[in-house]
């Protein structure tokens, strides 16, 4: 009854038949047969982004971005606000899971050679999203204004300050002064809650438009891709969406479980006069942190800054037509080496300056 009334109301105002066609085509657009569970990493990333926005809005209700109130307001959220502990923990865990899931999504794209012509731009937007996810983490980490956050930000911005030429300017721009202070908190807050969400929103939009427009890549070589005929492949709706629904519930359960069983501690309030022992960046920056240690400051920063550059230009370097991972031995070897070195460097960074040692 309501449905019919609504349809009638809309039909009196819009040419529904004209809209229905392309919409139906998009909804039923068949996905190639090689679409697997690994292809749900993209929608998982999107789900986590939406979760971050929603929990972020709830946090904004009580959060106060000043050095005098930030720590206390987060503590208030965790102890007094109704279900505050839950949405704060989901936000914190969501941030960490998002880095993992976005990375896995990129890895899947790399392994299946989906970044190749004609989808180079989709990859470039994807790399942008991965970098912005890390920037999200870096800016959000400071907001609770606790000791670890304060000093990790001090070290992070100090690294930026070592860039030749513009380093000092970048450092001052990030900090808003000589040291990490209320100005820094204010800047990081604005970037975290205004600039980054909208930037990610629009880039995700471009990324999705390109994915829908160009379709999901098959494993056939460049130029020999066969578009699935109607009735062939897997329909996006309801088939693939049902699959994503299962992943959605799994991720929801995982987020809430982590929030309850492994909550992030708030620690101590930031004290600019007291440096805690062994300050380290968040786990996803540990490989970079470890690389910087092996080289003189400038060389280290140069090497670290090459990584995103390579990610951006990779589709333009790897011009071979093959997509199947077994037919791309060089690219796959490079990929495996990169993943292994990230894991080893990350582990070394984690164990450094601590009493923990690698089990032999």
């Amino acid at each position: 009854m309501v449905k019919d009334t609504l349809r009638r109301w809309l039909a009196e105002r819009f040419d529904l038949e004209q809209i229905k066609g392309p919409l139906q085509a998009q909804i039923e657009k068949p996905l190639p047969k090689n679409v697997s569970w690994f292809h749900t990493f993209g929608s998982m990333s999107l789900f986590l982004f939406v979760s971050q926005v929603l929990t972020g809005i709830l946090l904004l209700v009580y959060y106060r971005p000043t050095p005098g109130e930030a720590f206390e307001s987060v503590k208030f959220i965790m102890t007094k606000a109704t279900m505050g502990w839950l949405y704060r923990q989901i936000h914190a865990w969501g941030a960490n899971l998002m880095v993992i899931i976005v990375f896995l999504h990129m890895l899947r794209t790399f392994v299946t050679g989906s970044y190749k012509k004609p989808r180079e731009l989709t990859w470039v937007f994807g790399v942008m999203l991965f970098i912005l996810t890390l920037v999200f983490g870096f800016t959000g980490y400071l907001l609770p204004w606790n000791q670890l956050a304060y000093w990790a930000t001090t070290v992070g911005t100090e690294v930026a300050g070592a860039i030749p030429g513009a380093g000092e300017w970048i450092k001052t721009l990030l900090r808003g002064g000589e040291s990490v202070s209320g100005e820094t908190l204010s800047r990081f807050f604005v970037v975290h809650v205004i600039v980054l969400p909208w930037a990610v929103f629009f880039i995700v939009l471009f990324h999705l438009v390109l994915v829908r427009f160009q379709g999901i890549a098959t494993l056939e070589p460049v130029g020999q891709e066969k578009k699935p005929k109607p009735g062939e492949g897997i329909p996006f709706f309801p088939h693939h969406v049902t699959k994503e629904g299962m992943v959605f519930y799994l991720l929801l359960g995982l987020l809430v479980t982590l929030a309850i069983l492994a909550p992030f501690e708030l620690g101590e309030k930031a004290d600019p006069l007291q440096t805690p022992f062994a300050i380290k960046p968040e786990w996803y920056f540990l490989p970079m942190y470890q690389v910087i240690k092996y080289f003189p400051k400038l060389v280290g920063i140069f090497i670290v800054s090459l990584a995103p550059l390579f990610l951006f230009i990779w589709p333009f370097i790897d011009r071979s037509k093959e997509r199947h991972p077994l037919k791309r031995p060089v690219a796959m070897t490079i990929g495996i080496l990169v993943v292994l070195s990230l894991l080893v460097l990350g582990m070394m960074g984690y164990l450094s300056e601590s009493k923990k040692t690698c089990p032999v």
Partner: protein
């Protein structure tokens, strides 16, 4: 040698004058007694230009020993103890001289009222302590200098030079174990182990220049200099009257003197029965106070343990920690209050403490319960997630089967 080079370098590089005096020019005392000058040059006196002749007389301007010590030069040589005390007093009791150094000038007057002074000036007993026995002579340094024998940390050992000498003390019918007892006391441990210079040592109770043993009536005043509240509440107690009549030695009767230990509630079991019969009303009252104190200690420890454990479990307990401080304050306040021996007042404070302790316990348990419920809520959550995944999975399989059955179109 190395340390001297280091000190000289330090003096040169710091650009400040070093803490020893230069040898006086044309001083014939120093020419012959160079070894004594070595002792004296770091002293507080030589740094102020007070040399040998100020105490020993003589004329240091003369070039020969005979002329320097000739009659008319006021040469004293080695002064006897009485002379020594008066020589020191000549300057140290002179307001005009000492005014500029900010040093008090009543030492000699006080000394004369002390047992040491009375023996020396009244009976001519030179075995008693004079100025140099405590302060040293040629190498006298400021009291604030840690090297001084009368620096707070060194006072007990300095006194023990004589007061630990059994043979000497037996002449005066005094005990010679004061230092040994003091070392094991709560004061001695604080001084020697924690280096707490504010803690009571010999001079804090007996006085320094005017040293006398406090009498029965003065004990309370002596201890009360630091233990102000204990003194205040004691005067409200039933013991105040016998103390004023000289029948009861305040503080010492229960706590002892040189060997005073950390006050423990068990004193009620040990000290009361020294004067009161076991089972008497007074001893029972002591027992009641003991029970209240015991309960407070146990409940405080249990509350502390609960809060600590909750903190380890990741529960926010900042407010409870604040309340714990309030509870602790109540228990600490019982320490001086118990000297009033008023079970009513102590019970009143205990009830305040008990209320806070119970509140802490309730709040921590409530938070812990909430945490448990969060974990329990995971069970229905995963049942829901499981149902949804299974339902969607069944639907997905059905859709896939239907789709495969249809086959490609066109």
């Amino acid at each position: 040698m190395i340390s001297r080079i280091f000190l000289v370098s330090l003096a040169l590089f710091s650009g400040s004058s070093f803490a020893w005096a230069e040898a006086p020019q044309g001083n014939s005392c120093v020419t012959c007694h160079l070894d004594l000058w070595e002792e004296m040059k770091t002293s507080v006196h030589s740094q102020q230009g007070i040399y040998c002749n100020s105490c020993h007389g003589g004329d240091p301007a003369q070039t020969t020993k005979e002329l320097a010590k000739a009659p008319g030069t006021g040469y004293v040589g080695i002064p006897d103890k009485k002379q020594l005390v008066e020589t020191c007093g000549a300057c140290h009791a002179n307001v005009e001289v000492m005014n500029f150094y900010g040093v008090r000038t009543d030492q000699l007057a006080r000394y004369k009222t002390s047992h040491h002074g009375k023996k020396l000036f009244g009976e001519g007993d030179t075995r008693v302590a004079g100025c140099s026995d405590c302060h040293g002579y040629h190498d006298v340094v400021a009291v604030s200098d840690p090297a001084s024998p009368v620096y707070p940390l060194n006072v007990p050992k300095t006194c023990d030079h004589c007061h630990g000498n059994e043979k000497l003390m037996s002449r005066y019918h005094l005990p010679s174990d004061a230092f040994k007892l003091y070392q094991t006391s709560v004061h001695g441990k604080a001084l020697f182990e924690k280096k707490d210079l504010s803690v009571a040592h010999c001079a804090s109770c007996h006085g320094s220049h005017g040293a006398v043993p406090p009498g029965v009536k003065e004990i309370g005043a002596t201890c009360g200099k630091c233990h102000v509240n204990e003194k205040k509440y004691f005067l409200e107690s039933v013991h105040a009257q016998p103390m004023q009549q000289g029948k009861f030695s305040e503080c010492v009767s229960c706590h002892g003197n040189h060997g005073v230990q950390h006050a423990d509630k068990r004193l009620y079991r040990e000290a009361c029965v020294k004067c009161h019969e076991a089972g008497s009303t007074a001893a029972k009252k002591g027992g009641e106070i003991f029970e209240v104190l015991k309960k407070s200690d146990e409940e405080l420890r249990s509350a502390e343990k609960l809060v600590r454990r909750a903190s380890i479990e990741g529960i926010f307990v900042e407010e409870e920690m604040g309340a714990l401080e309030e509870a602790k304050t109540n228990v600490i306040s019982m320490a001086p209050l118990q000297h009033s021996l008023s079970i009513e007042k102590i019970s009143e404070l205990y009830q305040k403490f008990e209320g806070v302790a119970r509140d802490i316990q309730t709040r921590v348990l409530r938070k812990r319960q909430a945490l448990r419920w969060r974990k329990i809520s995971l069970v229905p959550l995963w049942i829901f997630v499981g149902i949804m995944i299974v339902a969607l999975g069944v639907q997905y399989r059905r859709l896939k089967k239907d789709h495969e059955g249809k086959g490609p179109r066109g």
